[in-house]
């Protein structure tokens, strides 16, 4: 059912020889860009805490934690990664409903955005170095707010090793400002 690749996180197993990082958002598509402004694209950097929700066939909302997210070049698409073993309800829900809402938070400032649109499991090859960059950045911001060092690895380890990630593509149709303040939730 899952078309995405399974990622074996060698760094979690103690092997750290990795290929050099590719530039963020290196995939190119000619589809017109409308929903993701330049400012939003610039904001989508490694280190954002994320969760994504869909609705399954029975009408029940399903949540998964997002470990990496980035805007793809030239398209209103955000590529996200969730852990397979911790996201079964969500991935099944995406397969049946095809809609998702993605919440991303800048942990140190509470600045928050929600992206909504059609969602599908990706067929593209994952970029391990980029995912590792995201996890390293998450560890940094989590520890800056008091969580233990290496907490991203600990959280992922509950899903069992070797790690297996699912890549998804969210075609962004609308964006909302969810920073905590009066009027939160207004469309951007």
């Amino acid at each position: 059912v899952f078309l995405s690749e399974t990622l074996q996180f060698s760094y979690l197993l103690g092997v750290r020889a990795l290929p050099p990082c590719l530039p963020t958002g290196s995939r190119v598509d000619s589809t017109a860009v409308t929903a993701l402004s330049g400012e939003l694209r610039a904001w989508l950097v490694p280190g954002l805490a994320g969760t994504v929700a869909t609705v399954d066939a029975s009408g029940q909302p399903r949540i998964a934690r997002v470990w990496a997210a980035r805007a793809l070049s030239g398209r209103d698409v955000i590529e996200i990664y969730v852990q397979r073993s911790a996201s079964r309800g969500f991935v099944d829900g995406v397969a049946s409903g095809g809609r998702a809402a993605l919440n991303l938070i800048e942990v140190t400032s509470y600045r928050s955005r929600m992206f909504k649109g059609a969602c599908r499991v990706s067929t593209a090859a994952p970029e391990e170095p980029w995912i590792e960059e995201c996890l390293t950045a998450l560890n940094r911001v989590f520890s800056s707010v008091g969580l233990a060092a290496g907490c991203a690895e600990l959280m992922l380890s509950h899903g069992g090793l070797p790690l297996s990630m699912v890549a998804l593509e969210l075609s962004v149709e609308s964006v909302f400002d969810q920073s905590p303040k009066p009027g939160a939730g207004a469309p951007l």
Binding site: T51, V55, Q60, I63, S85, G97, N103, G160, P180, G185
Partner: protein, 440 residues
């Protein structure tokens, strides 16, 4: 279904949670929630501040899922919910509203946030997001709370006077419940301010420190007459430090409450008697989510006994006559320079702030008598009868005031002491000459 109390630590607001809902036409929505409240083993509540779309979805479909991260094990939990309704009154709403007010006040953001309601949910089921051998229940073998309560109340009931009650309370709670950092605020006669009369486990005890009713977590617990528990104070501490940096001239008579510089958890239990707040039991911990619901309920029971003991033992012996005994003038070391500022009753010893308000006026009164009449023994009755001190006609709390003053003096100087000499009677002991200066 396992009771949600198995993962109680998830409900202390240490790490934000997420709430997913869906619209009538199947569009999902997700929002971060600062704290999910555990209402019972099968019900949870979410305070509604900035979640209009989620509320609309809940009213339309009633379905929701929560994701909570366990702060100690870092296991994600998913909870399936059915929306039951929005509460905007009653004890659950009042407690959450008071907690929100307290956090806002503590953060210097009073009035910014308002609680429109509490979304109440029935829990349909819950599980770890990724069931794994390491994700286990946090159930440890619990110690018997009744046995502990029995021991605590027994030890407290042995106290013969207020002094002993204040001294014993925190040592007993540290020994029996492991609460290492706490203090007790009592309401003054006007009911508008709270002052610190007992302190345990802090670098500086700060006896006599005052706050207004409704100020911060402890003042809000007193004003709203509900216990307030906070599991993560990091954000509030950062905001307070920022506010302190920006403030212009610090008030020289400001004596902050005792506190841990790295406090993560806080608990305030009001002492209530006949609908009136007589004080607040206050606790802190450097550990996030340190105070559990069981701990809170245990302390509420203990607070009731403490309230009764304060009411019983705090009644002054009004029949004691004014003493006229004269004592020797002190003369060891250089003179002690004492300044009294009449408008706010503040006292400075050698240019360092000591105390203000009623306690300051009491001290000035006995120091003046000592200097002009060389009298060193006093009675509670003459203090009560002195109109300049400004004690209220009823419920003046004088005994507790004198205890706070005595302890504050012992914190600041060895040359000036107040010693209890009998029921309703005390003595001023002075080891150095006094130079008194009164300013209008």
């Amino acid at each position: 279904m396992q009771p949600l109390t198995d993962i109680e630590a998830c409900f202390q607001g240490i790490i934000p949670s997420y709430l997913a809902t869906c619209s009538k036409d199947g569009e999902p929505n997700i929002t971060a929630i600062s704290i999910v409240h555990l209402l019972s083993s099968t019900r949870v509540g979410v305070s509604c501040q900035f979640m209009n779309k989620s509320l609309q979805n809940l009213r339309d479909t009633g379905s929701a899922q929560l994701m909570l991260l366990h702060p100690h094990t870092l296991v994600d939990y998913l909870i399936d919910l059915r929306f039951e309704g929005l509460i905007d009154s009653g004890p659950v709403f009042q407690k959450m509203d008071a907690t929100l007010d307290a956090i806002a006040s503590q953060s210097g953001m009073a009035g910014v946030f308002s609680l429109s309601g509490v979304a109440e949910f029935e829990v349909l089921g819950w599980q770890a997001a990724a069931p794994a051998p390491s994700a286990t229940s946090e159930h440890a073998a619990p110690s018997d709370p009744i046995e502990k309560l029995d021991r605590i109340t027994e030890l407290l009931s042995g106290a013969a006077d207020l002094d002993a009650v204040f001294d014993r309370t925190f040592s007993v709670l540290a020994e029996q419940l492991g609460l290492q950092h706490g203090f007790l605020l009592l309401a003054d006669g006007s009911g508008e301010r709270l002052y610190n009369v007992a302190s345990h486990g802090f670098d500086s005890a700060r006896f006599g420190a005052e706050i207004a009713l409704g100020e911060g977590i402890y003042g809000t617990a007193a004003a709203r007459q509900v216990s307030i528990r906070q599991g993560s104070m990091r954000r509030e501490r950062l905001l307070l430090h920022a506010a302190a940096r920006e403030s212009a001239q610090p008030d020289p008579t400001s004596l902050p409450l005792p506190g841990l510089s790295d406090a993560e958890s806080s608990l305030a239990i009001p002492l209530l008697r006949a609908g009136r707040t007589i004080g607040v039991l206050c606790f802190q911990s450097p550990v996030p989510g340190a105070f559990t619901e069981v701990c809170e309920k245990t302390l509420i029971i203990i607070a009731r006994q403490l309230t009764a003991m304060i009411a019983l033992l705090g009644v002054g012996a009004k029949e004691v006559e004014v003493s006229a005994r004269r004592g020797p003038p002190g003369g060891k070391g250089p003179p002690l320079r004492i300044k009294y500022f009449e408008p706010d009753g503040s006292i400075f010893i050698d240019d360092e702030y000591l105390i203000k308000g009623v306690a300051g006026r009491i001290l000035w009164r006995v120091l003046s008598n000592y200097a002009t009449e060389q009298r060193d023994e006093f009675s509670s009755k003459e203090i009560r009868l002195d109109p300049e001190i400004g004690l209220p006609a009823i419920k003046d709390n004088l005994e507790a005031r004198l205890i706070a003053l005595r302890k504050r003096l012992s914190e600041r100087t060895r040359a000036l002491r107040i010693e209890k000499t009998g029921r309703g009677r005390f003595r001023l002991e002075v080891d150095r000459q006094l130079v008194l200066e009164r300013r209008g």
